[in-house]
Symmetry: C2
Subunit: 183 residues, 2 copies
């Protein structure tokens, strides 16, 4: 599969040093075949990141199914996404080798994964307002705030690991989100 080949390339050499030729070779397809679907490496990386992040969101949501109300499920899902991002081999590799690629999405604008997360949070917030477990407010706005609160627990944990363990980060993020969303 092409995206598996991209993933292997990124794990091996990082994003910047991955080429369409390498990916084609690893995937066992011709460069032309690949080129017809993906004009450049950026497009490949975008699809890979969307696939991987989508899978993290689904896994986090699945393991949060048991929550007693929509807020509990949302809190568990959001903390689950942060934990998965924090531990993800591909994220760690990108942040380690090509950190400057992450920068625009921290400072300037939302990337694909952030928009996926915001959409998932907004749905869950609307559901929580429906069952009375989430405080009132525009779901889109609340979802963007939840993104701001969650994001550093996914990508900035390295700055605080001397003080906060993996379990601390998970527990405290849940406390913060629950406190923020409670009616």
């Amino acid at each position: 599969m092409v995206l598996d080949a991209v993933r292997e390339c990124v794990l091996a050499v990082g994003v910047r040093r991955t080429t369409l030729t390498d990916v084609a070779k690893r995937a066992g397809v011709s460069r032309m075949t690949l080129y017809r679907r993906y004009p450049d490496v950026d497009a490949l990386i975008r699809d890979l990141v969307a696939r991987e992040f989508g899978a993290m969101v689904r896994a986090a949501r699945d393991s949060a199914r048991g929550g007693v109300h929509a807020r509990a499920r949302l809190v568990a899902t959001a903390a689950g996404i942060a934990g998965r991002v924090r531990r993800d081999e591909l994220v760690r590799r990108i942040v380690g080798v090509d950190p400057e690629l992450v920068l625009p999405y921290v400072l300037d604008r939302l990337g694909g994964p952030q928009r996926i997360a915001v959409a998932a949070f907004a749905d869950a917030i609307a559901a929580g307002q429906g069952d009375g477990s989430v405080r009132p407010g525009d779901p889109q706005q609340l979802a963007h705030v939840v993104l701001l609160l969650v994001q550093p627990f996914g990508i900035s944990a390295g700055a605080v690991t001397g003080t906060l363990t993996e379990a601390d980060l998970d527990r405290e993020l849940k406390a913060a989100l629950d406190g923020y969303l409670r009616p």
Copy 2:
């Protein structure tokens, strides 16, 4: 004053293009005099950032003095710092011209300003545990969590300004911090 000269240089050309020679010229001191106190531009920038950030923390704390208990003062101080960072001309210039300089402090380790903020938060948390307005927990750990929660409201606001205004960011950060710290 030397640090005022550094500030002018950074506002004019960014961090990377600021040189000791430019700073000496603007400050009206000889290059040797400057060099004796500051071995390189990095040291100058560090002192400037510490001065500017220290002033933001003090201003935020001063305008939060009226809070009814330590938690209210801490929440107002933390949101005040985030707002000041967000609107600060120097921060905007550094993030605009040399964003890669900010990156290590987002991903890897705490810089001087973050340590100043954590120390201020930890003191306020201990005071809040003293007057019963902040929930129990190790003040150092809680202070690091507060940093993670506050930081994106200072530096990542650009990614969400289509959805959240300045006033929204301020109000929602206060709601999140209050929810997190309430006993």
